[in-house]
């Protein structure tokens, strides 16, 4: 019995630049099977969720902490309910990004350092399939997290939004994928979990400071305003604000959603390039 041929297409463009030889050129590729790719993606997603299922405390923290923080924020803005709506909506977008950034950077760092990634990459698994599997699992988790947080904010804490809560959810899930993409990317530059966690203040906190949550973006010092214009979180927060202030889906909202989605996809692609089949 031979193993089922299931090579990945296009995920590995032959040898790495560092390999100056005949070695490693991909010859003899069979035609890719679509069903096989999907099965690998689903298997990876199920594996990631099974890992989480053995760690109920992390799952509980992921789901409960955003809700508790929203409740805290509600009482912080006891005197100013309008401010709670704006800041609260922004935080609904920021939480999933933070948690998925942390979870993904640690998870992929573990894959890299434990040898499981090396083993997977010697197997017929495409890098795209691995990343899509992670995106599916963490995206699903982020959807549950964002749903609970949004439901709590809108129904229990009377978050006052003009538009539909579903629009908030869309931005929240895209933000989760953005956080995941950034986490995957930075994990390539971290040798230890300590280093990986330190990327949080380096990569995420500046985005939070510049996203318009503290100072409206158009009132910022021009250089900072320009930086804020190229940071993806700014667009998530703008999108959330659109939902707070407009009943209908606005053009600005669509633009914001498109920017966040595009940046998440681009960073995921760059992150995929950091997964090397051949390493020194």
């Amino acid at each position: 019995m031979a193993r089922t041929e299931d090579p990945d297409p296009g995920a590995d463009p032959g040898a790495d630049p560092g390999t100056a030889t005949t070695v490693g050129t991909d010859t003899g590729r069979a035609a890719p099977s679509g069903a096989g790719h999907l099965a690998s993606v689903l298997a990876t997603a199920r594996r990631v969720l099974r890992q989480l299922s053995h760690d109920p405390r992390t799952v509980a923290q992921l789901l409960a902490v955003p809700v508790l923080l929203l409740v805290l924020l509600y009482y912080v803005f006891d005197a100013d309910r309008r401010a709670f709506s704006t800041v609260g909506a922004s935080l609904l977008g920021i939480f999933p990004m933070i948690t998925m950034f942390l979870v993904t950077s640690i998870a992929t760092l573990r894959e890299r350092s434990s040898g499981t990634l090396e083993r997977l990459l010697t197997m017929p698994l495409g890098k795209g399939e691995l990343i899509a599997g992670y995106a599916l699992a963490f995206g699903g988790l982020a959807t549950v997290q964002a749903s609970i947080a949004t439901a709590t904010a809108v129904w229990l804490l009377d978050l006052d939004i003009a538009g539909s809560p579903w629009l908030l959810l869309v931005v929240a899930v895209l933000n989760a994928l953005l956080g995941m993409a950034l986490g995957l990317f930075v994990s390539a530059f971290a040798a230890t979990e300590f280093q990986a966690v330190q990327f949080f203040p380096a990569v995420i906190v500046p985005q939070i400071l510049l996203c318009g949550l503290f100072v409206p973006r158009d009132e910022m010092q021009p250089v900072l305003g320009a930086i804020s214009d190229v940071l993806p979180l700014s667009y998530s927060v703008d999108g959330m604000t659109e939902v707070v202030t407009h009943a209908e889906v606005t053009g600005d909202y669509l633009r914001d959603v498109a920017v966040v989605a595009a940046v998440a996809a681009a960073v995921l692609a760059v992150g995929a390039a950091t997964l090397r089949r051949r390493t020194a």
Binding site: V23, T44, S114
Partner: protein, 255 residues
Amino acid sequence: MNNPGGATPEAAVLARALTVVRGGRRVVRELDFAVARGTVTGLLGPSGCGKTTLMRAVVGAQARVTGRIDVLGLPAGSASLRARIGYVTQAPSVYPDLTARQNLDYYAAVLGVRGHRRGAEVERVLGEVDLAEYGATLTGRLSGGQRSRASLAVALLGSPELLVLDEPTVGLDPVLRRDLWNLFHRLAAERGVTLLVSSHVMDEADRCQRLLLMRDGRLLADDTPDGLRAGTGTADIESAFLHLVDTDRAAPKEG
């Protein structure tokens, strides 16, 4: 025979002037050797001699490889080889937060074993490494030896044609070690699997049909255990190794 490459090469692994550079140093130097199909070949040498780097070159995980290395008739690292090679790294590459069975289930899915065949396959390899009763235990809670057997079980999934095993018997008790070597020989004899097994324990040499002795990135010998002893006039492989090192030192250095 499943042979997408077209040719029917005799050797499972063929290296010509194989060199690997790591950190500016040539850690594998100009190796020429062939591993015959359906045999158990031992790769022996002290820690740090380049065994792991050589094995990584065979499975296509090593960067900065020059020279030629063909595996099952294709250049090492070819995409179509990925389903045909089982590779076990020195550190167990399994997910500690999954049970042994869940680990195997995932890797089997990645290898393309679908549906109900997957469950049977997982149970088969668990049995082969004698871990069936620990199938439901998180691999993070297993002992070191059990965890490395779980990692070995992954490599046995889906009937690979070549098994590259980096020190698979380290830390195992003598009974288990014997059982695993018996398994390796059964795989070679009954299924025609080629095994390349590294070890730094010289007393495992006699379990192999052929030996590659390595030191400082070079091959000191490529022979059968009996041939080695006869050629060096020694009684055991450890003495043969020392004899070869001394001869090598006495010889004039090239380059």
